[in-house]
């Protein structure tokens, strides 16, 4: 099968869905020029000049318009240049998009996809490096997606666009150029289905988004030490497939939960807490969380390197639960 980069997989999903459904359109800053900083929206203006909107810098407006268009039956795909800027539009996300179906007693459907490029990449410091998936998980009415491979990215983006409810779609900037096999045809990946990215017997390593490749690297490194880890990628954080995660932990008896974000009140907290509730009697060691320390992203490379967890951090955690 052909191998393409994650950003190309996203672009392909977008093109296919725009082709398939006239109600899909794109809106965001710089989405025409270059197809955005990540080139994900490239080529759309040529094929569908009336279905791509390059905007002023006004995130609250952008998301607000998206919500309204979705209420009227369209399927907006909104690009927020950096997830950090979604802080400018949280009312629109939380009070408008997420709650509308509920508040109207099921009358409203808000099929909006909000693309949130996230995480560290290059040295852009504290206001351009956040992740914050856990915020969105905590909001009832939102679906939260965080693909780690080009294959998942394409399949999940297509599902996101077809979903009748709002989706916060996290794109790890560090993964945009990572490559993987992606079918050329139409396929979708259902929400709420975790994927076992590596089979193993000793420890279940739940890894989110950008941590998946690092966990897989750790898996190879740990082979030499005789540890055989299983890497589970939840792929969607809401809905969260605790069933698959628990099933794995029941087999291995040990769990490490890895996220790139600060782990304090982060995504891993929910997974670890749920494991502690649901797999208590199967656990043979405390669950260990891997994440960044609870600090904003610094600027200098030397500081960033000790902030963002790497495969060595995963290895350390595995050793700890095996000890």
């Amino acid at each position: 099968m052909r191998t393409i980069a994650l950003r190309d997989a996203l672009r392909e999903a977008l093109h296919e869905e725009m082709d398939r459904d006239d109600s899909v359109f794109v809106i965001g800053e710089d989405v025409i020029a270059h197809g955005g900083p990540y080139t994900v929206t490239q080529g759309i203006v040529d094929k569908w000049p009336d279905r791509i909107f390059e905007t002023p810098i006004a995130e609250a407006g952008i998301v607000g318009l998206g919500v309204g268009a979705a209420l009227a039956g369209m399927r907006p795909v909104v690009e927020i240049m950096y997830v950090d800027f979604i802080t400018c539009a949280m009312d629109e996300v939380v009070n408008q998009a997420a709650k509308m179906r509920y508040m109207t007693g099921g009358q409203a459907s808000v099929p909006i996809v909000i693309r949130l490029p996230c995480g560290p990449a290059r040295l852009v410091a504290a206001q351009h490096s956040q992740i914050m998936e856990s915020w969105f998980m905590h909001v009832p009415g939102l679906q939260v997606v965080a693909p780690s491979t080009p294959y998942d990215a394409k399949g999940l983006m297509k599902t996101a666009i077809r979903s009748p409810d709002p989706v916060a779609f996290f794109e790890y900037k560090a993964l945009y150029v990572s490559e993987g096999e992606v079918p050329e045809d139409d396929y979708v990946i259902p929400f709420g289905k975790a994927d076992i990215k590596r089979d193993g017997e000793d420890v279940t390593v739940v890894a989110i988004g950008g941590m998946v490749p690092r966990a897989l690297e750790a898996g190879i490194a740990l082979e030499d030490e005789g540890y055989d880890i299983e890497v589970v990628d939840p792929r969607t954080l809401a809905p969260l497939d605790m069933e698959t995660i628990c099933e794995s932990v029941r087999r291995t008896g040990r769990a490490v939960v890895c996220e790139m974000d600060s782990s304090f009140a982060g995504t891993g907290a929910e997974i670890a807490a749920a494991l502690a509730e649901q797999c208590f009697h199967d656990l043979r060691a405390p669950i260990v969380r891997v994440g960044s320390p609870h600090v904003p992203m610094p600027f200098a490379e030397e500081l960033v390197n000790v902030t963002v967890p790497d495969s060595a951090a995963v290895c350390g955690a595995v050793r700890k639960v095996m000890a």
Binding site: A60, G61, P76, Q96, R101, G105, P164, D165
Partner: protein, 327 residues
């Protein structure tokens, strides 16, 4: 559409429907049957009815925390609205929204909104949908004078203008923002003047004068439908009751309220206006009022007879759980 006798009577009827619906809702809260909060539209009725008179069923309306009037004027069934206030399973929002989130999608009433200025972006977005689909549906967003302070007002109008979207921004300037007089917290008197920053027409009208609102709205709706872009209409008005339940109204004088009720009641003014034209007789006037009162009474009966929501319903309508993705 000109304001003929027939249309005027229909509009006039709607004003009474709103007034009596809300006064009944207030009475019900004092009885404890309607719970939660209520923001009444009494005193501002001319605006919603004059504007909605120009709208088609498929045009979109987005409201505020004070939207009973917008809903009734756009055609939401009154019985389901009353049932919603009563918190019954038959309510417009199945008892999940209440007064502040009342909506009726069957009439393209996309919802009241508990966030000040919360509807402005979405209402611009419904207009964007019309534009993409090349339909000629227009969108109307109502908001208070307080909303003009918020960023989303500014951003929404910018987008509306930039893409010449078919949207009418209706600012109901009642001179107060909760318990604070607008003059204490605003720097320009007229919200309409702010339209200049967005290069769209801004018109300020007397919101108690039905004809004035009707005419401004007609132009704005036509303009929008022709694809010429948004209009900002400011309607100067007044609310007869407190901001919401329990408001002690220390920020305004009894005299001021009485003066408006006596001399600037849009229902009285429109009744007199029609009578001047011989479009309404005293009997008819009374019949219209009585008809509205009867409808309100029926809506209360409907609500009272309706079942309470099933506690299990609390878990539904978060997401569309029926939906399954398919390739």
């Amino acid at each position: 559409m000109t304001l003929n006798a027939d249309l005027s009577r229909r509009i006039y009827t709607d004003m009474w429907r709103i007034r009596l619906f809300e006064e009944e809702a207030l009475r019900q809260t004092s009885l404890g049957t309607v719970k939660g909060t209520l923001h009444t539209y009494c005193g501002e009725e001319a605006i919603a009815v004059a504007i909605c008179a120009h709208l088609r069923d498929d045009d979109y309306v987005l409201g505020t925390h004070r939207s009973h009037g917008h809903c009734l004027a756009k055609g939401a069934p009154m019985d389901r609205m009353m049932a919603e206030l009563f918190g019954r399973a038959t309510g417009s929002c199945r008892a999940k929204g209440g007064s502040m989130h009342i909506a009726d999608f069957s009439r393209n009433i996309l919802g009241a909104n508990g966030i000040v200025a919360g509807g402005i972006g979405p209402g611009t977005g419904t207009a964007l949908a019309s534009r993409i689909r090349k339909s000629d549906q227009v969108s109307v967003v109502f908001f208070g004078d307080g909303a003009a302070a918020r960023g989303p007002f500014h951003e929404g109008l910018l987008f509306g203008s930039l893409w010449k979207l078919p949207v009418i921004y209706v600012c109901e300037n009642n001179g107060y923002q909760q318990w604070v007089p607008r003059k204490n917290v605003a720097v320009v008197d007229s919200v309409a003047d702010m339209a200049a920053s967005y290069a769209i027409p801004g018109v300020s009208v007397d919101g108690q004068d039905l004809e004035a609102v009707y005419e401004a709205a007609g132009e704005a709706v036509d303009r929008a439908r022709r694809g010429e872009g948004p209009t900002l209409i400011e309607a100067r008005t007044y609310r007869f009751y407190g901001h919401s339940l329990g408001d002690m109204e220390e920020y305004r004088s009894r005299e001021e309220v009485d003066d408006w009720r006596e001399n600037r009641d849009p229902i009285k003014l429109f009744s007199a206006w029609m009578k001047e034209r011989q479009w309404l007789g005293d009997d008819e006037d009374e019949a219209i009022r009585a008809g509205a009162a009867a409808e309100v009474a029926k809506s209360v009966a409907y609500a009272e007879e309706s079942p309470l929501p099933d506690p299990e319903d609390v878990l539904t309508d978060v997401l569309d759980t029926e939906w399954r993705v398919s390739a």
